[in-house]
């Protein structure tokens, strides 16, 4: 039996990653190099793209070497074409097109958000979950139906990752800031009331950001503000998830994406799942952040389903929405 493999390339934001996976879901390698912005500044798209061009060759050859697969033995080359920062995406896309045409391999465009969902499903065994995707670019609640992921709830303004990163930027912490905010929050249990905004299945975090910064300026301790902001932001999402869960009656809740590493969020979503007799599925820490493996594995699923693109059509899509992707390898639950 021939076992298919696939190289995946991720470059949507601060991470340049490459990975090789095989059909059974084994991740043979997962190499990444993360662009670090200076504390107090966000990600600079051009500088991040320069970083990616510098490390691309090293990261990709590292992934191939570790997997023991040469370029000519690949079955497919998958690349995240969006959503993400244009300059960053173009680095990954250019490299992927070059490898695919050099070795005459199928090129597989992958949506980065779907990558988070598929790596979460692979590593937790989730089959038909209500997905809670939390990262710098997404805060969305989705379920699979009619060949696509349908959004049941999402943020109406900034994402949960944005909330933490923008807060951190104001106080000169480096991004991604989630882990540091979590550490500061652990030092407090003094709850300060801040805006809690849930509209149906949607959340809104911009008011919480403004109010948290205002608290800090008016003398509240950093630990107290981090604790309260984290409590409120995670509870809001938990409530939105609960509404979607009561509506869809899914039996699994999959938490995936960079912010899935947050322990408070994990605990709250597990609480919600239990309330509705659903299993909490939390993506392992190694695969919360952006990585090549999420692209390689999704690429492999697409390759098996015959979803490949011609090299000329593989253009970056910085605003590629999750719900616009036709997913051919999944079927609706009965």
């Amino acid at each position: 039996m021939i076992i298919l493999n696939c190289l995946g390339i991720e470059s949507t934001a601060h991470t340049f990653g490459a990975s090789v996976v095989v059909e059974q879901g084994e991740i043979l390698s997962d190499v990444r190099d993360v662009y670090a912005s200076a504390p107090g500044t966000g990600i600079h798209p051009r500088e991040a793209a320069e970083h990616h061009s510098e490390v691309a060759a090293k990261v990709i050859s590292g992934a191939l070497d570790k997997a023991g697969v040469s370029g000519s033995r690949l079955d497919g080359v998958a690349v995240a074409l969006g959503p993400g920062l244009g300059p960053c995406l173009r680095v990954g896309a250019t490299v992927a097109r070059a490898i695919a045409s050099c070795f005459q391999k199928p090129l597989i465009p992958v949506n980065h958000a779907i990558g988070h969902i598929e790596i979460g499903s692979l590593t937790t065994g989730a089959i038909d979950p209500l997905v809670v995707l939390v990262s710098g670019g997404h805060t969305a609640i989705a379920a699979f139906s009619g060949g696509k992921w349908r959004i049941f709830g999402e943020t109406e303004d900034i994402t949960l990752g944005n909330l933490y990163d923008m807060f951190a930027r104001e106080i000169n912490l480096p991004s991604p800031a989630g882990p540091q905010i979590e550490k500061l929050a652990d030092k407090s249990s003094n709850f300060i009331p801040l805006p809690y905004v849930v509209k149906g299945n949607d959340v809104s975090y911009s008011g919480l950001l403004t109010a948290s910064l205002a608290q800090l300026r008016s003398g509240a301790t950093l630990a107290d503000v981090c604790y309260s902001m984290q409590e409120i932001s995670c509870s809001m999402l938990a409530e939105a998830v609960e509404r979607s869960l009561a509506y869809t009656r899914k039996k699994e809740v999959l938490l995936t994406g960079g912010v899935a590493a947050n322990k408070t969020l994990q605990k709250k979503l597990s609480d919600v799942a239990v309330l509705h007799d659903a299993q909490p599925r939390i993506v392992p820490h190694a695969y919360t952040g952006d990585c090549g493996a999420q692209i390689a594995w999704t690429g492999l699923l697409a390759l098996r389903a015959g979803d490949v693109a011609s090299i000329a059509d593989a253009r970056v899509k910085p605003r590629w929405r999750l719900e616009d992707v036709k997913v051919s390898w999944r079927s609706d639950a009965a």
Binding site: S145, F191, G200, E231, E239, Y247, L275, A333
Partner: protein, 220 residues
């Protein structure tokens, strides 16, 4: 009401939603309904009680306002801020969703047209429901009552009104597939008699626009 008094011991849980529980209970010698917001383990107690209390107040405020502008809702009999619950009149009758299955075509249209008038009156009075479905309408011998204002608001925004119509349209479509055009059509007829042709057209356009945005996706 004797239906329940005779056979079951009160209080009796009749519905459990994501946010609240609905009980039938005895209130000064007659049957009433208690809506009680449930404490959530995923919120710190201080936050949890603040949210439950303010939402209970908000909801009872909206219901009170609805009644003032002539939109029938169960009469609120008691508000208990400590437990974030309130007691309201028991409306004896099926939901409109269930009733539409069993009545004649003529009554079906009459009911939907009446609902259109009520929703229009509510909108004209500056309220939106936020979760308008035929499950959230009770029918007592033809008199319709709107219930569950938990997601409602004081609003005159076209956007919010459009969402109301969209949610109702979707609910009608999913439960009464073959009758959908007839019943939503009757609803709109009633709606436009109150708001006038211009406002009616604007609201419908807004509803279509919101639908195109695809945010309110179909049930999985």
């Amino acid at each position: 009401m004797s239906r329940f008094l005779g056979e079951a011991t009160l209080p009796k849980l009749i519905y459990r939603g994501a946010e609240a529980e609905i009980y039938l209970e005895e209130w000064y010698g007659s049957v009433a309904v208690r809506k009680s917001r449930i404490a959530k383990p995923y919120r710190v107690p201080e936050l949890d009680s603040r949210i439950r209390r303010s939402r209970t107040l908000h909801e009872t405020n909206l219901m009170h306002e609805a009644r003032k502008i002539g939109v029938p809702v169960p009469v609120i009999q008691h508000l208990d801020q400590e437990t974030s619950s309130f007691i309201m009149e028991y409306v004896n009758g099926p939901t409109l969703k269930d009733e539409l299955f069993v009545v004649s075509p003529e009554i079906r249209r009459t009911r939907c047209k009446e609902l259109g008038r009520l929703v229009a009156r509510m909108h004209e009075g500056g309220l939106v429901h936020g979760d308008l479905t035929i499950s959230n309408v009770l029918s007592n011998g033809g008199k319709l009552f709107l219930i569950d204002f938990g997601l409602g608001d004081f609003s005159v925004e076209l956007e919010d009104r459009g969402v109301d119509l969209l949610l109702l349209n979707r609910a009608m479509k999913s439960t009464h597939v073959r009758l959908h055009e007839e019943i939503f059509g009757a609803f709109l007829k009633g709606y436009s008699t109150v708001v006038g042709r211009k406002r009616h057209a604007e609201t419908i356009d807004k509803m279509r626009e919101i639908e195109r945005r695809g945010r309110y996706s179909e049930r999985a």
